[in-house]
Structure formats: C-alpha cells, structure tokens
Symmetry: C3
Subunit: 443 residues, 3 copies
Amino acid sequence: MIGDDIHQLAKILWPINRSITGDGVRKTLHILKNFHTNLEIYEIPSGKKVFDWIVPKEWNVKEAWVEGPDGKRILDFANNNLHLMGYSIPVNATFELEELDKHLFSLSNQPNAIPYVTSYYTERWGFCITHNQRKKLKPGKYKVHINSTLQSGSLTYGELIIPGESSKEIFLSTYVCHPSMANNELSGPTVTIYLAKWLESLKNRRFTYRIIFVPETIGSITYLSQHYKHLKEHVVAGFNITCVGDNRNYSYLPSRDGNTLSDQVANHILKWTDKNFKTYTWNDRGSDERQYCAPGIDLPIASIMRTKFAEYSEYHTSLDNLENVVTPEGLKGGYSALRHALEAFENNCYPEVTVLGEPHLSKRGLYHTIGTKVRDKYVGLMMNLITYSDGKTSLLTIAEKCNVPIWDLYSILNTLSAHKLVNKHDSLIMDNSIRHLNLKVSN
Amino acid sequence: MIGDDIHQLAKILWPINRSITGDGVRKTLHILKNFHTNLEIYEIPSGKKVFDWIVPKEWNVKEAWVEGPDGKRILDFANNNLHLMGYSIPVNATFELEELDKHLFSLSNQPNAIPYVTSYYTERWGFCITHNQRKKLKPGKYKVHINSTLQSGSLTYGELIIPGESSKEIFLSTYVCHPSMANNELSGPTVTIYLAKWLESLKNRRFTYRIIFVPETIGSITYLSQHYKHLKEHVVAGFNITCVGDNRNYSYLPSRDGNTLSDQVANHILKWTDKNFKTYTWNDRGSDERQYCAPGIDLPIASIMRTKFAEYSEYHTSLDNLENVVTPEGLKGGYSALRHALEAFENNCYPEVTVLGEPHLSKRGLYHTIGTKVRDKYVGLMMNLITYSDGKTSLLTIAEKCNVPIWDLYSILNTLSAHKLVNKHDSLIMDNSIRHLNLKVSN
Amino acid sequence: MIGDDIHQLAKILWPINRSITGDGVRKTLHILKNFHTNLEIYEIPSGKKVFDWIVPKEWNVKEAWVEGPDGKRILDFANNNLHLMGYSIPVNATFELEELDKHLFSLSNQPNAIPYVTSYYTERWGFCITHNQRKKLKPGKYKVHINSTLQSGSLTYGELIIPGESSKEIFLSTYVCHPSMANNELSGPTVTIYLAKWLESLKNRRFTYRIIFVPETIGSITYLSQHYKHLKEHVVAGFNITCVGDNRNYSYLPSRDGNTLSDQVANHILKWTDKNFKTYTWNDRGSDERQYCAPGIDLPIASIMRTKFAEYSEYHTSLDNLENVVTPEGLKGGYSALRHALEAFENNCYPEVTVLGEPHLSKRGLYHTIGTKVRDKYVGLMMNLITYSDGKTSLLTIAEKCNVPIWDLYSILNTLSAHKLVNKHDSLIMDNSIRHLNLKVSN
C-alpha cells in the first residue's frame, strides 16, 4: 500500500536533525533526490538579503548534553534532537540549577512531552525537557556542553521541475526544517515526493509541475525573492503541503483570495472525500501560505491537510511521532486527496456542446430506445453534463451543479468528446487575467 | 367557472390518440383552432434535418388488439390507446405467451395502471397492460393484430401569434403528443388556449405573444431549427406550459440561467399564490425547456406548474386522468398563476419619481392632513413605491422590496402616474443586452 | 459624566414650544449656539418654493386653554405644550361639549398619555388630552381660547461647519421641531451638539463636518433644495441623528442604498457595542433619511439609534419624557456609539504593506524571538493587519476580517506605520466614483 511506502520513507528521515539551515536539510534532500534525480539542490549564502529578511548563519550540531550533580547525563541531543533548542550557540560550562533553569523549556500541561523550541534570530542556548523530569531536578552543579557551530554558510533547498504540455505551472511547496516530528514535518516532504513519482509516471501532463522542498518561512521567502515574477506569470494553482499524515481529520485552509482555482478544487475534493472536513479561514494560516499569498505575491495557493498544525495536542512536541500520530492509513488519505486535486487540475476544462438543442443520443447508442417513466442515472448524468457544456462553465463547476465528484465526469466527457458532441476547451491555459475572468463567470 | 370550461375542453380532447406525428395531433390542433382562427397549422415533412435530429416517419393507427387462446380480445387499442406502445409497427401474427410476453409492458409496483411506453426511433411493437392482468395470462397462442402505418408523412404543429404594441415577444409553448393522459398532456394545451383567449380579449397588449403547440422534444427542436434566430432577438420572457391541472402543488422549474425575467416573475407569483410552492433545479428538467434553454439557444423560459412531471405516482400511466388527478379546481389554479405571471410581464416597468425629495402628497389629497402616531397601510405602500422609483428598479423588484404581490402596486402606480409624480419607463422594450443589464442592476 | 451633561441640556430645552416654524425653533437654536458660536442661524421666508413643497406660514402661540362649564381651566398650553394641536389657528369662542369633542384627540389604548398631533398644511384647531380626562368631561359649554398667529414669516434652521483637512464632508442632521418630547426630539440635538464640541476639540480632522439642525421634513427639504448639489459632490458619509437617548436598545436603519460607508460603519460599530442591536429595513424609515436618500438625492446617510421612533409605546406622546424614557445613561450610549462611528470615518484608510512577503518583525522588536507552540494575541492581530494590507481593503473591512472592533487596530496600524511597514492610503478622499468602486472591491 502506498501509505506503507510513504511511512517507511518517513522513518528513514525521522532521526535527522533538520533546522532552517545546516547539514540536516542537506541530508534530507539527498535522500529525497534518490527518488528523483531531477531534484536540484541549491545553496544560498548566509547574509544574502531576501525581501525584508537576511539569510541567517548556518547552524550545525555535533553533540549536546547536560550532566547532573551526580555526573549522569540527564539530557542528550543524541537521544532526541528536540532536547536542544534550535540554533543554540556553543556552550561548555557548569551552572547551578537556578541558572540552568532559565535555559530550560517544558510544558506544564503536557508533562510527558518535550517541547519544540527555536531561537533563530537571537543568539541563545537552551534545552527542552519533559515537565515531569524538570520537576525532579535537584539543586547542584550541572555541566552543559553544546558543541554547535553558528557561522557563515548557506541555506539549502530543493527544486524539482516535472515538465508538461504547457508552460503554465502547478506549484507544490513543502518544508524540511523541523527535527524529529511527524505530522508537522515528515508527512509533508514524504507525501510530496510520492506525488512527484506519480506525476512523473503519467503519459501526458497538461501542466508543468514545480515542486519545492524549503525551510519554512525563510526558505519560502528566499525562493520567492528569486522566482516570484516567474511564479506570478506561470502558476495557475497549487498547494502548500503540510500535516498530511494523521488519520483523524481532513482540513482546508484557503488562500488569501479565498476563491482561486486551488480553493475551488480543494473544497470540491474534500467535500467528496469526507463530508465533515474542517474549513479554516485565512486568519488560521501559519505555514508558507503566509508568504505565497502575501499582498503583492498573491499566488493561488491553498492547503489540503489532515489535522491542521496547531490544532492537535501533539503539535510541536516529541509526541508528534510516527507511531501514534502519523500512520500509513493517514498518509494514504493525505496522498489520495492531493492526488485527486492534481487530477482535477489536469482534467478541468470548459466543455462546449457542438450542436444546438439536445443531441440525438439514441442514434449513437448513448440513450435507451424505449421511452417509459423510469430514468437511468448514468444517462441522466450525461444529459446534465451536456446541458451545462456552454463553453463558459468549468468541468469543476459542472460537477458541483450535478452534485457529483468531478471524477465521475471524466469518462462521460471522454465518451461525448469521442462522439464529437462536446469540445473540451482548455481555457485554463490562457493568460491569467482571462482565466480569472472565466473562473468568476463560471460560478 | 373558468376551471370547468377548461376541464370540458380536456374531456373533448381526451380520447384522441396523439403521438409525435399523425392524425391525432392534427385533430387536436383543429379542435384548438376553433378557439382561435389565427392558429396556423404547419406540416414538416419526414426526413427533414432539424439540428441534430431528423423528422421521423408519420405514425397512424387504425386498430390494434390481442386475442387470447380462447379467442377473446384481452387488449384493445379501441378501449384505451395506452395499450399500444407508441410507434408500434404493423403486426398480424400469432405468438406463444412466452414470445408475446417479450412485447408486454406493465408496472409491478402499480399493478392497476397501464404504463405509457413509446419507441419512436427504433422499430418495434408492443402492448401495455396492467400488471394484474398480465399475471393472469395463461399459456397458449395469442393473436396479435396491429393495423398501423409508419411511413413518410409529416410532423404537425400549431402556432398562434397575438400581436401587441411591441415586436418584443412573450413565448408560450405546450405539447400535444401524448395519448389519453391528463396532467402530463391535456392540462397544457387546454390552459394555454384559454390564456390565449384572455390575451386576445385585452384592449392593449405591450407584448406580442407567440404561442406554440408542438410534439415534445422533436417538435420544439423542429420549431427552434426554423425560428431560433428570431426568438433570440425578440423573446423577453415565457413559459413552457405543462402539468398545470391537478390541485395538489404549485411548482417552479427554473430556466438554465436561473435568473431571467421569467424566473423572477415565476418565483414572485408563486410565492404570493402558495407560500409552500416547490422549487426544483435545472437538474430536474424534463420537458421542452431542455431545448429552449440549451447552450446556444438560451431563451428565458421557465416553468410554472401544479404537480411536476415525474413527481406524482400517476405520471405516464393510465391513472393520470381527468377524474382523480386533473380537476376544474386544479386547472383554474394553473390558469390563474400563469395569467398573473403574464399580467406581471405586461405591467412591469421601471418607475421614476419626477420630483427631488418626497413629493408633497397631502396637497394632492393623497396623504392624511393630520399628523399623529397612527400609520396608514395604503399610504405607506404608496410612499414605499415612491422611494424605490429611481428609474433603475423594476416594479417587480419594488414589489419584492415592499413585500407585497406586484398586483397590489398596479393601481397605486397608476394614481401616481396620473398625478405626474412617477414616470413608468418601459425599459423592458429595449435591446436585450441593456435589458439584461437593468435586470441585474435591479436586484 | 457626558451623559449627565447632555441630559442637563435637554432639561433646559424641554419646555420650549418647538414646531416646524416659529420662535420655539429660534430659541432652541440660540441656546445651542452658546456651545458653538459658529452655529449659523438661517431664516427662509414663507412662500418660498422648495422642491415640490412651499415653506409654510410661521406659527406662534401666546396662550391656549379650554375652560369647562364650571369656569375652571381643564386644558392649558402653559402646563403642557402638547395639549395644543400643532399649527392650531386662533380661536376665541364657546362650544357645546359635542362640538368641542370633534376637536379633541386622545388615545384610548394609552389613557394617561397626551398624544402629539399636528395639522401643518390644513388650517384647523384642536386640543390633545388624556383619554381618562376626556371620558370625564361633562356636557355643557366650554370656552376655547387660542391666541396663536399663523402668518407670513420664515422657517428657521441652524448650520455648523467644522472644517477639516479635506473638503470632503461628513454630514450630520438632527431636527428641532417637536414640543416637549425627549427621545424623539431632544436626544437628537443635544447629543449632536456634544458631538460637535468633541469634534472641535480634535487636533486634526481629516473631514469637514457639516452639522444641521432643521425642522423635520420641510426643513431637510428646504436645506436640500439649497445645497444638494454641493452635498452630492462632497458628502462621503453621515447620519440622521434621532432617538439616541433611551437605554433600552441599539438600532440601525440603513440608507436606501443599504451598503454605503455609513451603513458599513454603523453595522460594525453597533455589532461591537451591542451584539443584539436591532436592524431595520429601508421600509421602516420615517425621519429625514427619507429626503437624504430619496431617488436623485442619494446621499450616504444611515441612522444609528437607541430605540427607534414608532417602536416604543411612549413615542409621540407626553410619556416620552426625560425621566422614564431618556436618561443620562441612555444619552451616553447614543453619544458613544456615534462618536465611535465618527472616529471610524476619521481612521479608516486603505493600508498597504511596503515589503513583499511577511516583514521580519523580530528584528524590529515587534515579534517574540523564541519560537514555540504558544501564540500571542496582539502579535497575531498585527500579523493579520499586515496580511490584509493590500491597499485595496479598507481598515473597516480588515477589522471585519480580523473579527475585532476597528478601534483595536488604530494603535497597531500606527506602530506599523511608524516602522514604515505599512502606508495608510487615504483613498476615501478621492472622487466619489472611485471611492465607491473601492468600497465594493473591499467586500
């Protein structure tokens, strides 16, 4: 099962200490590159100005631990990379408990969880610890050892272009900057690389697919600062892929616009995947959609998720793992919803019937030849597809009007097209302004 | 009562064997022509190409029956024309029950009903029978005799033009192709011909009325293939008239557009006729609106019905009769709702007040001269009509804003017009694009 | 407390006999002028044509009473000016009870209330009386004395202009034509004059404020007939101020358009003042908004009220007083809601972020430097304000999107503006058509 394959890959990536820069990102990207040799890995030097930001120093960790008054290691980065606050500076000193405590982070309401804490842009050091362990610490001298480097280097990201018939693009973005956490990290890049595998396997692709693996926030800002003009001209739809691995909910977070093709497709696919899917608002954003939909950028990027970041208790703690949170079944559901969405982009068009009045279907063997009071469901759907095929209504909107998932229409449309009764107008591959107009018209 | 007159006419038309072609249609149209000598009857030859279709051969029946093993007639077209499948080819032969049975049609869930079955475009023969009778048939030899003709001839339809001040048209269509059935056939042409009588009796008509009596589907396609350019230029509103004879429900089926003047008027009239009227969607269509609203035709045609076709158990069976289903009361209600709708077309306009600020009504005797805390309802309605008379809002929309039926405003508008306080702008009689724009603006 | 100050002023104005013309209006306006020496008082001569109306004769009263058969005064204008029907002509005669009774007005369902009755445009006389007193009147001769004058004079109104940076105007109108009644009269001019005091105290004003005190209906029509072209060019928003003094409800009456800036602000402010505020429709109008929003005038004038005229039992009777109906608390609430609305006009703008992507807030000290799972509410609101600052969305709409009152955004916007992260575009001060366009776009 696809879910097992994805879960297996996540396990391989699990122990790596990722952050917004450093060797953890590089190692993760090289493992992903095994799936696609076309995945290009880029390095952007520290200090480079990217929009309002500056690419930070590169951070790497060799070892990090704390020894207690009795000489035993009480915290060790080697056991769980969450123990070390992200971007901790080097330290090699001994502290009284009172002083050490100022550098400890725990969650009183989740006493068994190690929290995930970072300090990217202010130099600090710290350790993260379960609240239960913290409460047991005894007064005395603690030896703190952090063998890390924080120095000029580079920010690393991956980019994979899968070409299609058109230069118009579907844009997928996922992030690779969190240490060992499952739903809010590993589900994203693992599902995305499997989607890329499937895309590559297709005989025909209408669209070119641009898929990036970046550190969150600074990575997407860096990528945008290099490519946003190209993206604004070419991208017709896309998703930020995160939190697609647990088997609890399906969720939708809109683009800032709220009504782009990505939003329409996400809503449609989720409605037919799980009628109880959760709808968030733009106010609930929190990942790279913040950059892709920022004023002036305004890309048509929405999010299809399982349980959304910040909406589950394990989020940003050591409890967000590959056993209790992210499962093969959960990953399969996330992969499947996103694949349905990409298929919808590929199949969407503006069908236009070629005859005036209803076509005479029975002479083509497409209609029952005996008239009675009984109605055939398949024929009814074909008749509905025909009546809405006015060249101005997208297949997606037609599916909504027919109250069926868009995938129920693919084969019927192909049958009608084969009989030259309906032309598929590929209006999506038009310039953006007209496309946008058409989308508005079609609703 | 008008309902009795219409019911009486339906009884006269009841026994005629109508189909999509043949003498039954001609005979029906000649009876209707007694009401309007201007009703013109047209014949379109078999074989003529009409859009994607071809006018079929003409079908006529002299007699048709089945004799049982004992020599008794078990089924006879002379008793009920539903017994013979529509468009049955000639047969004169004897069959074992097993073979005959392949040509029999009955309804197991309505064992006392003779179903209505046709096979217009594939040559067949068949008999329709109650399920109870069918179950009792004994093995043996059955003599089948169908004296029918299926040969080159013509398709017949009627057209009645009632001229008005404007060349802009209201288009009414009804069908004459079903044998002895009441709500889903006879209610349509009988109510329509009485509406035509009433229209002819009016001293003034703003609009020209185009009223056609056609066989369903092939008839409307034939008519459209000859006239659709004229219709697209001239028709501002209209209805397909069917199922207007039972006294159970009021129903509305929208045009494909869903918001034409016909839709707006239908909704308004029905809301004030029966607040529980049923609203269907375009997916529920099934009569000639399928052709009138097809992509590229796009006429503003909606349907005002009593109980909609396919939504009542007697539909398309011998149970759809003039005793239990269609009644004088039911026909009166259908006639009345449609007449209200036509009156709304005639009276709708874009009123525009002629003074700035509120007019001084009391000096014209239109307002109470003593100011107190009591409000007069009629005066209040007059004030509302004035305040909404901005020249951009239709009388129909004003009625909606005032929460009254449009007919409550006719006399008030005439009073204000007589005092030269309001001009009635007849914006409907403009070119279609502007009219459409105004309709949008006014909502 | 501001409510006490306003209530005190209302008490001073209480006993004056106001009508649509006469010395009562003049006296009222001169008292208000004490608060603003810039309040200009205008006199428009009787007989002047104003739109469809004519300025009526001026009415003044010296004394008016009725003596009973026993020579005792049973009704005296000196006790309560409501006893005399407004615009009563002079009378000095004796009548039998039967004849007198034709000139009496009382309310059988409010037997302790003196009703408020007028006859401005038909010459009459009459007295208003409690129903309880009327029932006790005994047969006999009644002496009626009305020492009034109804003769050529003028209609009086006040106008106060408070200049601002722009020539674009906020228009406030209130009326001064009712005798001793509290919510439906005195709350209006007293709250308005205190709003004017506050406006004058502001260091900067974006808008010019045009504030008028007029007799209802004939006064607003007179004012419009003189100024409507100027108003249509300059007024961007405003309110008709009435019924702002009781402490029971908050109410909103829309402009005829229903979606002007005034409507948007009124709805927003009331929602955050009292989530149970009442929304009326344009059909419920009844004060000078009838003129300001008449077709062809179309000013963007809505109403923010406490309990709306005609919606409380004391309305238009002697029971609408400064003890049981209008209170300091009630007046404070009306004043406060309107002041919030005027502040919203002053602060509304179209913010536009100056950087692409999210700004790096932490380097400016505007963001926490440690990343964890906890969210800061103030920082979240700042991020929301930034993300919606696309230069096309008004601050008002942004507040709606953030689900906070607009006043929560003023200081955050100023902080961001001080850091040059957001420009405030003052798009309101554009020509009307573009402004209107922007308002539509922003919703």
